[in-house]
């Protein structure tokens, strides 16, 4: 029962728009000088934008969005560098069975790749 693999370009475009808007909002904020705070906010925006671009059709994106809704610590996840366990890396991976974990990982990897490409493009474009 494999769901369709993600369409990379659609995810890229959706993520790009959301992320850029989030970054714009971020840049307009006061108290966001060139600081660690800005970095954390950017990282959170990236993660959330990706999950929002994917939508609720995937377990990992649902897990990310659930975290936001619960207003729990969304940001500190990756910095702590979880143990080398696939369940710890993929969001929402703790409660899944192994098969679903693998398919979620595949989708997650695709989306991460798209995200990296978009962000790289943004970097290249902003400061050529």
């Amino acid at each position: 029962m494999n769901i369709q693999p993600p369409n990379s370009s659609s995810i890229k475009s959706r993520f790009a728009v959301k992320f850029v808007q989030a970054m714009k909002r971020l840049s307009k904020r006061r108290g966001m000088g060139d600081r660690y705070k800005r970095y954390r906010a950017t990282r959170a925006a990236a993660r959330v934008s990706l999950a929002a671009a994917v939508g609720p059709e995937r377990a990992w994106s649902r897990a990310v969005l659930r975290r936001i809704k619960k207003r729990r610590g969304l940001i500190g996840r990756t910095t702590t560098n979880p143990r080398r366990n696939l369940r710890g890396l993929v969001p929402g991976g703790k409660g899944m069975d192994y098969c679903s974990l693998l398919s979620e990982t595949a989708h997650y990897i695709t989306c991460l790749q798209a995200q990296v490409q978009v962000m790289q493009d943004m970097l290249h474009l902003s400061s050529p």
């Binding site: 494999n2 369409n7 370009s9 659609s10 475009s13 959706r14 790009a16 959301k18 850029v20 808007q21 989030a22 970054m23 714009k24 909002r25 971020l26 307009k28 904020r29 006061r30 108290g31 966001m32 800005r38 970095y39 906010a41 950017t42 959170a44 925006a45 990236a46 993660r47 959330v48 934008s49 929002a52 671009a53 939508g55 609720p56 936001i68 809704k69 990756t78 910095t79 080398r84 696939l86 890396l89 993929v90 069975d97 693998l102 398919s103 990982t105 595949a106 997650y108 990897i109 790749q113 995200q115 990296v116 962000m119 790289q120 493009d121 943004m122 970097l123 474009l125 902003s126 400061s127």
Partner: protein, 357 residues
């Protein structure tokens, strides 16, 4: 996890079927062991001809030690036990020795013979006899409780299996349609419900591992699940770290982001599916928009781009907002859950930027 194994819409409660031919004591504890056989005989009468010889030899072997060569098919069937996967028997404490050839000495042989011949007929114990401890003990133990859950499926597949072995044919026996996922038992492999479900699960896992292997670069040389998993974990971690690094860089060059939108949207790679955005929410909630140039975006209605004019003035005119809170994250999310519509952005020069709370 059991539902993963059984894959059926409704697992009937386990109902032990009673075996009708006389069986020796060692098997009395395993009544369900012979169920498939009896029900097979009753349900698939046209296989009776191939089956009639077996129960008789079964009974004969069970009740009295027959000469092993008496059954012409026995050696052939016994030889096939070696190919069976392993599964621990329900009532067996120690794994019985593997005896493939026809020579089975004395009482030990008798038990093996009586083991093997009924096991031949009744697939549920087949593996355990030939192989002893199962490889998938953990999943077996998890499924011991629901032994007869998919008895129908095991019957069907067992019928295929035995039919294959005796007739060496691959015809699928006629079956009343059930709502289970019909799994074809392969030749030479055990066909009880647990092993079937396990095999399906293993196939699913290996299929997904293959998918992952295609995704992760450099995984082709790696074989084996453990190494592959390590590679996958490494790759996911590296991707996440890359995102973090890029976000750090982007955070430092943030003021230049205003121009990124235009350039981003003009990139060809993003235009295969153009920006199905939720523009309606923008107007309703007065979120700041940016006008985009629609020259390269042909399928979307033309959006005038006015990147440089108003955006520079925004930073001063905008009301001051609190730090990037999770409310902002909510707004990103809420933008995403509306229906997609074509992007229609209007620039708000009046700086009515309000974050959706």
């Amino acid at each position: 996890m059991d539902k993963d194994y059984f894959m059926s819409s409704g697992i009937p409660p386990p109902q032990p079927l009673h075996f009708e031919t006389p069986m020796p004591n060692p098997w009395s504890s395993d009544q369900s062991f012979f169920n498939p056989n009896s029900s097979l005989i009753h349900q698939f009468p046209h296989f009776d001809s191939s089956w009639t010889s077996i129960p008789s030899s079964t009974a004969a072997a069970a009740l009295a030690p027959p000469p092993l060569a008496a059954d012409p098919c026995f050696a052939e069937r016994a030889a096939k036990f070696s190919r069976f996967g392993s599964r621990s028997l329900n009532g067996r404490a120690s794994p019985p020795p593997l005896k493939n050839s026809g020579e089975l000495p004395g009482s030990g042989g008798e038990s093996s013979v009586s083991d093997q011949i009924p096991a031949k007929v009744n697939s549920r114990k087949r593996k355990g006899i030939s192989r002893g401890k199962s490889k998938e003990d953990r999943s077996n133990s998890a499924k011991e409780a629901a032994d007869d859950g998919s008895s129908k499926r095991s019957k069907q597949s067992e019928n295929c299996e035995n039919e294959e072995e005796c007739n060496k044919s691959e015809q699928k026996p006629p079956e009343p349609p059930k709502d289970y996922i019909h799994v074809r038992a392969r030749r030479g492999q055990a066909t009880d419900s647990h092993s079937l479900a396990e095999r399906v699960r293993r196939e699913k896992i290996s299929e997904r591992m293959k998918l992952l292997q295609d995704l992760v670069p450099g995984c082709n040389k790696v074989t084996g699940k453990a190494l592959m998993l390590d590679e996958i974990i490494n790759y996911v971690q590296s991707l996440q770290r890359q995102v973090e690094f890029l976000s750090m860089k982007l955070a430092s060059v943030n003021p230049d982001l205003d121009f990124n939108m235009e350039n981003l949207l003009s990139k060809d790679m993003y235009q295969q599916q153009l920006y199905p955005l939720d523009s309606s929410i923008y107007h309703n909630q007065n979120v700041q928009h940016q006008q985009l140039q629609g020259t390269s975006i042909s399928t979307v209605e033309p959006l005038p781009l006015d990147a440089s004019i108003g955006l520079d003035g925004f930073s001063e005119n905008l009301p001051q907002f609190p730090a990037f809170t999770e409310d902002d994250l909510h707004s990103i999310v809420q933008m995403g859950f509306l229906q997609n519509s074509t992007y229609f952005a209007v620039q708000n020069q009046t700086s009515n930027m309000k974050v959706e709370l």
